[in-house]
């Protein structure tokens, strides 16, 4: 069961976690990313490519389901303006055993960072600007590439 949502609404983390389950799946791993309050950011705005975003996230989730035989995978990404403490993204994987759930959860967030068309714009005291892509994110995603 793959669940993909891209929306300007606040993410209901508890509901999303509860929805990521399947018969026989005793292990559920989740990751949530929140706007950090400690680096002077007052507003974080997420732009995306409607249609292509959902398709890219579905491919990421399908890749995880196939690779780790998941019973359920969830990717929820908020778009539009948000504020410190708000959840930006939530991913979750349900599997029979913990190693599959934990690895798949890491895969979902690593791949999402490089494979889905989102762009972050930060407003700080010194002004506003687009966030630069990080080489570390490419490296984190690439570790899942294989033969």
């Amino acid at each position: 069961m793959i669940r993909i949502h891209v929306s300007p609404a606040a993410i209901d983390l508890a509901a999303e976690m509860a929805a990521t389950q399947a018969p026989g799946c005793g292990a559920v791993a989740t990751f949530a990313g929140h706007v950090r309050a400690d680096d002077g950011v007052s507003v974080l705005e997420l732009e995306h490519y409607p249609g292509a975003t959902e398709a890219a996230l579905a491919r990421v989730a399908e890749g995880a389901v196939a690779r780790w035989a998941l019973g359920a995978a969830t990717i929820v990404h908020r778009v539009g303006p948000m504020h410190p403490g708000d959840a930006i993204v939530f991913v979750a994987a349900a599997a029979a055993h913990r190693s599959a759930a934990l690895e798949a959860c890491a895969y979902l967030i690593d791949r999402l960072k490089t494979d889905a068309p989102f762009w972050k714009r930060e407003t700080r005291p010194a002004g506003a600007g687009w966030v630069e892509a990080r080489a570390a994110d490419d490296a984190a995603a690439a570790r899942w590439d294989g033969p």
């Binding site: 990313g33 490519y49 292509a52 890219a56 990404h77 960072k113 068309p117 972050k120 630069e132 990080r134």
Partner: protein
Amino acid sequence: MQMLYFAWVRERVGTGAETVAPPSGIATLADLIDWLATRSEGHAAAFADRGRLRAAIDQEFVGLDTPLGDAREVAIFPPVTGG
């Protein structure tokens, strides 16, 4: 051909979407970007640093050397920063 621009590419071009009719001889995405850069100062600024551009043809992410084929929708944008 429907063009879409995102993030600072959109800001520099001055619009998030436009319809264009490239002349014959525009074979690849890179050719298209060269031609788009001539349309306005904004386009020129948006497309000045080719190394910072990424693109999709009909919502598939592709390299800039990709042939346009019979593309209907072409998107140009910076490296992604979601999550």
